[in-house]
Amino acid sequence: MLEIKNLHAGIEGNEILKGIDLKVNAGEVHAIMGPNGSGKSTLAQVLAGREGYVVTEGEVTYNGKNLLDLATEDRAREGVFLAFQYPVEIPGVSNTNLLKTALNEIRKYRGEEELDTMEFLSLIKEKMKLVELDQKFLSRSVNEGFSGGEKKRNEIFQMAVLQPKLAILDETDSGLDIDALKIVANGVNKLRSKDNATILVTHYQRLLNYIVPDFVHVLYNGKIVKSGGKELAFKLEELGYDWVKNGKSEEVVNH
């Protein structure tokens, strides 16, 4: 589904990603872990098409298409979804308005009929249950005055409504208490299927107790320095990121 080859990217002349290689197949969940400043969020932003980031080398293929050639909105319409680390507050735009517009633009792009109000409402009511959001959220402005947990739940709710093929969750777990974390994880788990894939970008192993990844990659200094199964996350938890920073990871793992 997604193939990243030797991706170099940066912002304002600073190279942050220094040659990323990653292959994600349908049905898989990949966790990308790493210390602060390792380039995790940059990778998420570059994949979503954030302006300001410049790709200097490498390629990204998504379902046979050159992802980097697509506009941000077309990536979303092709099924890429980014759950933001810091969801943006948009006063004056209701959650309903955002979702209805987004859903219909995506459907239009795919040559599908737009949903009428009734169909739309029954869809979102069903999806709200998934993340235990109250209906009053719908008429409120997007993320305005939401608590940190509510913002993250709103991201997962949007994901549930838009049903992406590739979901990238950028530190969706940061700052969540255990109850909110369980709700978010439960939402993600219920949306897992053999047809879609998920990339979890996270700093902490904790999330992986609730969403079990198929693969774990450790990002450090703009490169994936280690890849493995879910047990790699436990190792990181035990030894900390100094383990990869000191460049001794090979030895330890090979023991």
């Binding site: 909105e73 955002l98 792009y109």
Partner: protein, 438 residues
């Protein structure tokens, strides 16, 4: 010497001709006001950017056209009028074409007994006592040359009178249509709205013209809200983008009256609005809100004055601007809290979004506070479109233009949602949608 002098002389010299055309209107005491205003007009000079009040707004382009009144009768199509109405709104409608009342296009619903909605020219002829009492009392023609010109050449405009205790349920929609053709004409709507004690009325002033035509609208509106009266006022300015629009609104508020005004402005090459409200007694509420959307080389200038002369009054002011291309916006919001006016609450805010690097806004709050127990605040922001928010919307599959449209709707929404009539809100939403969601 130069054209500035020429056009002034023209008005002074042609006053006799104008008097002849008044046809009966000359006998009232109003005519003395016309003559006084003419002498003020001849004494005053047109402002230049050296005048503090006109620092950012040069009227030189206006003066070079030598606009003069037209006495030719024009007829407008029913379709045009229909296109200017608000959907699903019951209303009384009065139409002015090139500044003159057009009875055949107007339609008054069953108004409560004693309510007058119509032409000020008729009421001048009838020597209406309410008119004689209030006309020219609030809009100062001693010091303002455009008001002096309006007063001197007072001919027609809207007159609305709501007697004590009467409530006019349906909004009164006044449309001023300018059809100038190739002529460079001046129209001067002169309006007076009087709401007596405990009365209530909603009035919409709506200015339109044929797109591309060059003309000058110089309007003066005086509004009186007597004790406990509620006056809801909306002004929609959709003049031709080549026109000039200079307007003064003077509001006189008595005890516990409630006045609110929303100005929505998209038209005219040069727009200047002076909106002044004065609390003459305690307990008044006043809202002056505005939204302007301009592009090209349009210039929009709003000068507001909130005069807190008495204690326990609340004022709210919120102006928002969306500026594209090389357009320019000016906001000057003055709040005076006089020595007596304890327990005043006065809030003012001005926010602007610049959609291009060449658009420009000059914003200036001016607070003069002489009382010591008051709450006053003001704020101004000038910014670009929020790129974070736009990226967020695009990352959900919403296209560039649609995202822009959604964000501009959102920016304008707090001014629009405070308009009480849904049909008017929808009409304004439609203007924004058509402009930004192509």
């Amino acid at each position: 010497m130069d054209k500035t002098i020429d056009i002034k002389d023209w008005y002074i010299l042609n006053f006799g001709e104008f008097e002849k055309k008044l046809n009966g209107g000359k006998e009232s005491s109003i005519h003395q006001k016309r003559k006084d205003a003419l002498s003020n007009f001849s004494r005053l000079e047109f402002p230049t950017i050296k005048d503090e009040e006109w620092k950012y707004t040069s009227i030189a382009p206006l003066l070079k056209y030598n606009f003069v009144p037209s006495y030719e009768k024009k007829i407008v199509s029913e379709e045009l009028i229909k296109s200017l109405l608000f959907d699903e709104m019951e209303h009384s409608l009065i139409i002015f074409i090139n500044g003159r009342y057009s009875a055949e296009n107007s339609l008054l619903l069953n108004l409560p007994k004693g309510v007058i909605v119509g032409s000020i020219a008729d009421e001048i002829k009838k020597k209406n006592e309410v008119l004689l009492k209030h006309f020219g009392k609030y809009a100062d023609h001693q010091n303002h040359i455009f008001t002096a010109l309006s007063t001197a050449y007072t001919e027609d405009g809207a007159f609305i009178y709501v007697p004590t205790g009467k409530i006019v349920e349906e909004p009164i929609h006044i449309i001023f249509i300018t059809d100038s053709g190739n002529e460079k004409i001046l129209t001067q709507p002169r309006n007076l709205f009087v709401a007596e004690k405990n009365s209530q009325v909603t009035i919409i002033e709506h200015y339109v013209g044929n797109e591309g035509e060059i003309y000058f609208t110089n309007s003066v509106t005086e509004i009186v809200a007597e004790e406990n009266a509620v006056v809801d006022h909306i002004k929609l300015q959709e003049e031709s983008k080549k026109a000039f629009h200079i307007a003064r609104m003077e509001v006189d508020q008595e005890r516990s009256s409630n006045f609110s005004s929303h100005l929505i402005s998209t038209g005219a090459d040069l727009t200047r609005n002076d909106s002044n409200a004065r609390f003459n007694n305690e307990g008044g509420e006043c809202t002056l809100n505005g939204l302007y959307i301009i592009d090209g080389t349009q210039l929009f200038d709003a000068h507001t004055l909130m005069d807190h002369a008495k204690p326990h009054c609340n004022s709210h002011e919120h102006y928002k601007g969306i500026l594209d291309d090389k357009s320019r916006g000016v906001f000057n919001g003055k709040i005076i809290v006089r020595q007596d006016a304890q327990k005043t609450n006065a809030f003012q805010e001005n926010n602007s979004i610049l959609l291009s690097d060449e658009a420009l806004v000059n914003t200036k709050p001016q607070l003069e506070i002489f009382a010591d127990d008051v709450k006053c605040s003001h704020g101004a922001t000038i910014g670009q479109m929020d790129d974070e928010a736009k990226f967020y919307l695009k990352s959900r599959g919403i296209g560039e233009e649609a995202s822009k449209g959604i964000l501009l709707h959102a920016f304008a929404s707090d001014v629009i949602t405070s308009i009480k009539i849904e049909s008017v809100r929808n009409y304004i939403e439609k203007i924004i949608t058509e402009k930004f969601n192509q």
